[in-house]
Amino acid sequence: MREPELVQGNEACARGALYAGCRFFAGYPITPSSEIMEYLAREMPKVGGICLQMEDEIASISAVIGASWGGAKAMTATSGPGFSLMQESIGYAAITETPCVIVDAQRWSPSTGQPTKAAQGDVMQACWGTHGDHPIIVLTASWVREVFEMTVHAFNFAEKYRVPVILLLDEVLAHLRENVILPEPGELEVISRQRPERLEDFQPFANEMMLNFGEGGHIMVTGMAHDEMGFPTQGQKAAEQLKRIVSKIERRAEELALYRAHYLDDAEAVIISYGITSRAVEAAVELMRAQGLAVGFLDLKTLWPFPEKLIRSWTEGVQYVLVPELNLGQLVREVERAVGGRAPVEHLGRVDGYLITPQEICQRVQERLGVNHGVRSS
Amino acid sequence: MKRYEQNGFFLEIEPRRCKGCGVCVQSCPMNVLILNDAGKVEAKEIMRCVFCGICEQRCPDFAISVHKSV
């Protein structure tokens, strides 16, 4: 029997990356993500990998893309301001179908904001931060062990579908230390990019097969609209290629949807949450169930592509949907769209730098379900 | 592709690549080259060519080259 160990969220992310086979990391110091780079600076050389502190976040993501084309599983980690700097190259990764992982440990609101306070304000930026139509996958986590698992999933998705994958953490989870037993080698599936069998007629931008630089493929990579061979194109061919790279992710929304669902079968009210907030939601639901209230929750791990069908089916026939988030209302709008007016959808936001509590959630749900007495935690 | 041969050397011109900038014409120390009516380079006086290769080094379009016959 393995002993549990005390692990920080950022450390779990770094260890998850190594577990997934990440052998290149480039980053720039920023609170609250810096411990990821600090851990990897120590550990990467021991496994034959590279960890490099760059001159800024633009350099970090760009080096990651270069390393990925060199054949390495590659990652960077940052927080909101750095994440904004990375957006141009994230678009480049999307159009060039470059597998890579970008971790964003979210902190409070725009600009310097409050670097040591948690938030969930980058949900829309994670999806729409770069310019133009593009594919993207965005994952989240709520527990330290889950940070490890989601980092592995992030690499698996990136490699399997040749797409940038963003892992949204937040300041609390990034700095939180929990007693955990992390997965052992072999326990989680680890996926690597698929190589073409034949070099001769290989088209590097036709599907998810990928040939790295230095393997004789004479691959042309460009951020311009390009044909299957990587050379500039326009008109109908450009449209076809854009639709292909967007739909390779969008049409797989269901298989990409990772989530935890509980008490949903008989639920009259459903609470939909993600990230650190899901911990309060789960506690609140347990409290309300103990009271006999028919409340369930859906804890989303995949935010984008948005699991629309999943939400539609789980909210079928419910009376009330609540979306607590550490922001002024981001994912709630997507939920509203999915629910399509079949039940009232409400947002419960908090932006004072503190986490939403189970009590706040209970209070709101009880009010809406017409329950008078409050729930107090013992 | 046009090929002009003389004394064990030849000059090759790829009109498809030529954009008619005229740099080779002006650079040629022996006045061998001209731009024709189509605006492409042509060797008018190949007899005078000393195959120095300046045209090849000045051409921005990979349109003109000098070789030694094998």
Partner: protein, 279 residues
């Protein structure tokens, strides 16, 4: 250089290229291909990484792994690639705006870091691809579409900037001096460390047209007239140097190369682990 040899390195089927008639970029690209051919580089083990701008288009012409990156970032894309594929010869084709405008931060840090990359800087003193705007390399008083009354700023001297920032091989030449371009590029590629070859070149379409020198031949010769080889430069008085630019092999220095240093660290850490396991 025989063209059949050049064709090993170039995607000749993509010619004619996109550059304007008379543009110096074709000449520099030709010199780069010649340098590769003379060094007999293996195209399977060579990569060209370009930025955005006219110069970035060079990447499309090389028949090897090539990347046309984002504006100003070619150096950092190449940094990631070179670190995970040290056996690749990685060559950068950068413009002046690319290298010291939008990418200036990456440029100085690459010089400092001393990765084994060779950066060829196509310096035409203007933003060509976007239509002739003023660049950080545009000489004082020269006109561009965004300095219509003459440039009020002072330009970067790219070679001096590279030396000051720690590049270990720095040479400067012009698109007029074909053999010097080939020679310096070859030495840059062979040099272990960050090599910068600045090539002063001509943009007849914008720089020339806006500054009353439309003729590419005339522009080429003007480059020649305004540059002085290092040996002569050293004999000139400050006055004589005023409107001249020094060309030649300006700096060459041995300093630990970053990729080697990192891999030495890997070897050291891994051998310590093996020893640790044995105890």
């Amino acid at each position: 250089m025989a063209y059949d040899l050049l064709e090993e390195y170039l995607r000749v089927e993509r010619l004619p290229h996109v550059w304007c008639p008379g543009c110096g970029h074709g000449v520099i690209t030709h010199a780069l291909a010649c340098a590769m051919a003379e060094l007999r580089l293996d195209p399977d083990r060579t990569a060209v990484i370009g930025g955005i701008g006219c110069s970035g288009r060079a990447a499309f012409l090389f028949d090897m792994d090539a990347m046309h990156t984002t504006h100003g970032r070619a150096i950092v894309f190449a940094t990631g690639l070179k670190l995970v594929r040290p056996q690749l010869t990685v060559i950068l084709t950068l413009g002046d705006g690319d290298a010291v405008g939008i990418g200036g931060n990456h440029f100085i840090h690459a010089c400092r870091r001393n990765l084994d990359l060779t950066a060829i800087i196509y310096n035409n003193s203007i933003y060509g691809q976007t239509g002739g705007q003023v660049a950080p390399t545009t000489p004082p008083h020269k006109k561009s579409t965004t300095s219509p009354y003459g440039n009020l700023e002072y330009p970067f001297d790219i070679a001096q900037l590279a030396i000051a920032a720690g590049a270990t091989y720095v040479a400067r030449t012009t698109s007029f001096d074909f053999r010097d371009m080939v020679k310096f590029i070859k030495r840059g590629i062979l040099h272990k460390g960050f090599a910068v070859i600045e090539v002063l070149t001509h943009c007849p379409t914008y720089y020339g047209r806006l500054n009353e020198m439309r003729d590419p031949y005339e522009m080429l010769h003007r480059l020649k007239e305004h540059t002085v080889p290092l040996e002569e430069w050293e004999q000139l008085s400050a006055e004589e140097r005023a409107d001249k630019i020094v060309v030649g092999e300006l700096h060459c220095q041995e300093r630990p190369e970053f990729v080697e240093s990192y891999y030495a660290l890997i070897t050291r850490m891994q051998s310590q682990q093996v020893k640790g396991d044995g105890n």
